[in-house]
Amino acid sequence: MTDVIRQTAEQAYAAELEALQAGDTGARPAGWRLTPKAVVTYLLGGKASDGTVISPKYTGSRRLVETAVATLATDRALLLMGVPGTAKSWVSEHLAAAISGDSTLLIQCTAGTDETQIRYGWNYAQLLAHGPSEAALVETPLMRAMRRGALCRMEEFSRLGSDVQDTLITVLSEKIMPIPELSTALAAVRGFNVIATANNRDKGVNELSSALKRRFNVVVLPLPGSMEEEVSIVARRVNEMAAGLDLPLPRSVEDQIRAVLTVFRELRSGSTEDGKVTLKAPSSTLSTAEAIGTVIGGLSQATWFAGGRLGADELAASMVGAIVKDPVQDKLVLEEYLETVLKKRRHSAAYYAALSDAL
């Protein structure tokens, strides 16, 4: 068990789930392992009835988690949206673990995913030898979830082609999967539902059709609210990644993270941190994940080319890369930000100069 690289949520938090389940006597929706209230406690942290401490898995708004859990308690499917780094997949995994006790019924959606990976496929040797039969059917995670009355997770849902997305309509509205080849249909067992995740600012993805959209309740997970929260998330990830890449961390890294995040957060939110100046927002998402990438990029540059000194000069190139996605509009947005905001801040002089150079 310790040999696996990564344990599933239900394995890693088995003790917490058990403790919650033991003391959880209230009424629960059919097929659920915990009551909705206990699921919320599992995600946000608290105490089980026997005193076991439940660690918080998600630190964002309680309202959103409650809406998500309540959605799954109805028979509507849940769509978690958010930019990269807002813990969409993490939340979906833990929801599945807490509600169904199984977070492995997972379909990773890509542009190449086709219908047979969503509905069912065929074992062609069986099919040719014995003709269409239950035995020749290859079940997908979705089908297994329907059969077992469990949650099926679909990651990066909007990357699926529109026609493939729409195969879900029947499943979500009728709760059955027709198998015309066998003149039968698989009816979902109570407890079955779908959690999809999608990036809402990704370009070049397939918008959900309105028919499908109506079958989902959407919860948008926001970016970290406060500067401190985001700095600590980035610093933690940068530490982990730097260790993995054997990059030494200079002392000033936290200051630089703060400086990068200030720029990212201000451009992303369209106003300065003090709320006094409104700004244009670039077309780039500037998510927490991108901030991590930017700092790691700068760190690598600092280590190999700048004698380990991490500063504005090392970070500027990757920052510009992250901010300017549209060569005309975004460049203008950044120029404007430099001239109207950064230039006036004395302590940002280094960044003003480095970013102006890099443009």
Partner: protein, 827 residues
């Protein structure tokens, strides 16, 4: 004594519904309501068919409407329902609180608004539904913000008296006191003997609590009034008051102790009247201390009270609003939203879906999770556009009184006949008059019409045409919704208009109006909106258009003794933004778009000069205004230009070098960015020729282009290698409004001359209208001088050049050009 107490929550629909039911049972002969005792006479008017809530009881010391205090009543206010019940059942109703003349110790009217008051009262009411019904006008309108904005959500350091309901809710294990009270009273369809329970709870809470002196006085007054009522009434008495006061009113205190407490209170008279109110001003974000979070939601609760489909109605309203805005909302989604709301309510352990559940469900099911969409409808949904009405003729409108006082102070009589008035803003009386007229103008009362600003440079003079029309008084009554005094009403009204304005330059004009009328509230709102709008506008041309009006407002503000520094900074920022986007804005334009851009470029250039406080001093402007002063003055300014332009000796050497030298030369940030943008525009081959020419003109006018460089520039752009159409437009851009320069600058003249001379016949005819346009600014004298310069006067020096041209072409050109230059038309 048969007295029954009804502890209510101000503006609570649940309290109102329970109260009406309880009154029906009790059938009191006398209904006592928490409100100013001296205004009891006005209570029956609430039942008048012409009275449509929301309305407010306004009380102010005679002659000081600005110091008005208000007691608003909405349809769902228990106090309103109690008064209505009394009138319909022929029972007597009385207010029993302290008379309106007695002010709380921290409220001296708007002259000394205590910044804490709004916050404190707001917090109280927001959390617990306790506190005073009354609000102070000085607490500001919907836009006030700032210190008066109640700190709604923080529950950190509340004392018991501040937030009794919050304490009860916490004791019952609820995080959110609002929702606890809603579940228990406001939204509970079967509340049972809730009034008794609330009284008991309040008594428990108040045990051992100190009561503030002001509250003690109010309760003493109410006790005395109740005792008096006991002596007067023949039947049961109902006392309707804020829950917190009930134990105090029931306490047995001797009459003499109460008398002692109340000794020495002011006994002046006040003017009291009903005024139309709005739901927006019932919300505590409007600065009204006892406001509610969402009047629209309260109204909905009241109107659907006892119905089982209440949440469906609410969700349908949301869907309607969304559909009105062009979003697709299916009925199926509404059903899902309702199901999600009830499942959320179950998860949160509430008896039925409340405001929060319905909002969260609507966001998840109808709005695709986008909070932003919610924000677009929340004002209409939660505040609502409802405005009350008062019966005709019943209102002694405080606003009218305030205007009359201002008219007396300004010594201006409202007269129906037209009359002219010149105002000098440097004198106090002049300023007062201008203020009054502008403020009335803001409210849509066009008493005075501004005929001229007294010339472009005279910011100290205004000429008005006055004419008072009787319907202005009606308008004034309607505008009381915005405030009871002129400055408050005009400020709030202007702020509302600003919110509805889409265009940047219109908004800039409204800000100018706020300065002219000296309305700090409109000024602050306008500045904030302008900042937002400017930041989100990416069209450089639109941005440029806003610079000049702003710059003028800055100058105007100096005459008005307004602190115009923030506006100046904003105008500079807009100019910087426009400068950065100029490159893209000047590309791919057709003729009319280029003309428009050039117009704005020039106005922005003038704006920048205004901002820097230097009078417009470009060589061509001088030449234009003072052509007679002529060469002498011009030489001076040109030599200055030369000195300034020294840093950039080689215009033609390319943009790179120029930028470097500029960044060293420019001490002023805004100007340096602006000049750099102009220089880039000048050097940009893809830019519209007209705009590039205009950039050259502006640089030359700003002294950033040495005369030699200017000649080199013109020569280069008008050289045979340049397409004629391009060259012609460049020339138009450069010389429009500056053709007089050709009279004095021999080198420039020569360059243009050479270009015109080498034009082929067809090209010349094609571009003739354009040339005409360039020279159309010159008056007859100037044209004559230009021709003199070209032919006669300078003949000795220049004639050889003329002669050297191919004789045939020259004759041909001369034949066409001469009548043109002499202004005889070209046909």
């Amino acid at each position: 004594m048969n007295v029954h107490y009804f502890p209510i929550r101000h503006h609570g629909p649940g309290s109102a519904a329970s109260l009406v039911r309880a009154l029906d049972q009790l059938k009191p002969a006398l209904v006592l309501i928490e409100g100013p005792a001296d205004a009891s006479d006005l209570l029956p008017a609430l039942a008048d068919p012409g009275m449509v809530p929301p309305v407010a009881l306004l009380c102010y010391p005679p002659g000081r409407p600005a110091a008005a205090r208000f007691w608003p009543f909405a349809e769902f206010s228990p106090e309103y329902q109690a008064a209505l019940w009394a009138a319909q059942h022929k029972a007597e109703a009385r207010f029993i609180d302290l008379p309106s003349a007695v002010r709380p110790p921290d409220d001296e009217g708007p002259d000394e608004v205590n910044p804490d008051e709004g916050t404190e009262a707001g917090g109280t009411e927001a959390e617990g539904g306790e506190g005073d019904l009354v609000g102070g006008i000085g607490q500001g309108g919907p836009e006030a913000g700032g210190p008066n904005r109640p700190g709604g959500t923080d529950q950190g350091e509340k004392t018991l008296a501040d937030d009794p309901i919050g304490q009860l809710a916490a004791a019952a294990g609820h995080d959110d006191p609002e929702s606890w009270w809603c579940d228990l009273v406001e939204q509970n369809p079967e509340p049972g003997p809730v009034f008794g329970a609330v009284s008991e709870a309040m008594t428990e809470l108040r045990t051992g609590q100190e009561i503030e002196p002001w509250e003690a006085k109010r309760e003493a007054q109410m006790r005395r009034q109740i005792a008096q009522a006991g002596r007067d009434a023949t039947g049961p008495i109902a006392v309707v008051c804020g829950a917190w006061h009930v134990p105090g009113l029931q306490a047995s205190v001797t009459a003499s102790a109460d008398r002692q407490l109340l000794a020495g209170l002011a006994r002046t008279k006040t003017t009291a009247t009903w005024a139309p109110w709005s739901h927006a001003r019932l919300a505590f974000i409007s600065g009204y201390g006892a406001g509610v979070a969402a009047p629209g939601w309260n109204l909905h609760l009241w109107r659907t009270w006892g119905q089982t489909n209440s949440s469906t109605v609410w969700l349908t309203r949301i869907a309607r609003l969304l559909r009105d805005r062009g979003h697709e909302v299916s009925t199926a989604s509404l059903i899902e939203a309702e199901r999600l709301a009830s499942s959320l309510a179950a998860l949160r352990g509430r008896p039925r879906a409340g405001f929060e559940e319905l909002r969260d469900a609507a966001v998840a099911c109808l709005f695709n999770g986008e909070d932003l969409l919610w924000r677009t409808i929340q004002d209409e949904l939660l505040l609502g556009p409802e405005i009350g009405q008062v019966p005709e003729g019943s209102a002694a409108a405080p606003l009218i009184e305030d205007v009359q006082m201002a008219q007396r102070a300004a010594r201006l009589k409202p007269e129906a006949l037209e009359r002219e008035l010149a105002v000098d803003l440097r004198t106090d009386s002049g300023r007062r008059r201008s203020q009054l007229l502008h403020r009335l103008g803001v409210l849509g009362i066009a008493w005075g019409e501004l005929t001229s600003q007294g010339g472009s440079r005279g910011t100290f003079r205004e000429n008005w045409l006055l004419c008072w029309r009787p319907e202005f008084s009606v308008t004034l009554v309607e505008r009381v919704v915005y405030g009871s005094d002129l400055i408050g009403a005009a400020g709030a009204y202007l702020a509302e208009q600003m919110h509805q304005t889409e265009s940047l330059s219109d908004l800039a004009a409204l800000v100018g109006l706020a300065v002219a009328a000296e309305l700090p509230q409109g000024w602050a709102t306008g500045l904030r909106l302008l900042e937002e709008k400017a930041a989100l506008t990416s069209d450089a041309s639109l941005l440029l258009g806003a610079v000049a009006p702003l710059a003028e407002t800055v100058r105007y503000g100096q005459a008005r003794q307004v602190d115009s520094e923030p506006l100046r900074q904003l105008a500079e920022r807009i100019l910087v933004e426009a400068a950065l986007g100029l490159r893209h804005a000047a590309r791919g334009l057709d003729d009319s778009a280029a003309q428009e851009l050039v117009r704005r470029l020039r106005s922005a250039g003038r704006g920048l000069e205004l901002l820097q406080g230097s009078p417009p001093a470009g060589p061509d402007d001088e030449a234009q205004t003072d052509a007679a002063a002529g060469p002498d003055r011009l030489e001076v300014s040109q030599s200055e230009a030369g000195a300034d332009g020294e840093a950039q000796t080689d215009e033609a050497a390319g943009p790179d070098r120029l930028e470097v030298s500029q960044s060293e030369a420019g001490p002023d940030d805004t100007q340096s960015v602006w000049l750099r943008a102009l220089r880039q525009l000048l050097g940009d081959d893809q830019a519209a020729a007209l705009a590039a020419g205009c950039a050259g003109h502006l640089l030359y006018a700003a002294g950033q282009l040495a005369p030699d460089d200017a000649v080199a520039l013109i020569e280069r752009h008008l050289s045979p290698g340049t397409p004629v159409a391009w060259a012609a437009r460049f020339m138009e851009g450069f010389f429009t409004g500056g053709a007089a320069r050709l009279i004095y600058d021999q080198a420039l003249r020569q360059a243009v001359d050479q270009w015109v001379r080498q034009l082929a016949n067809d090209d010349f005819l094609t571009n003739l209208p354009l040339l005409r346009r360039v020279f159309s600014d010159l008056d007859t004298t100037e044209r004559k001088r230009l021709i003199d310069a070209v032919f006669r006067q300078s003949g000795a020096r220049d004639l050889p050049g003329l002669v050297a041209a191919p004789p045939g072409a020259w004759d041909e050109h001369l034949r066409v050009l001469l009548p043109l230059l002499l202004g005889r038309g070209d046909d």
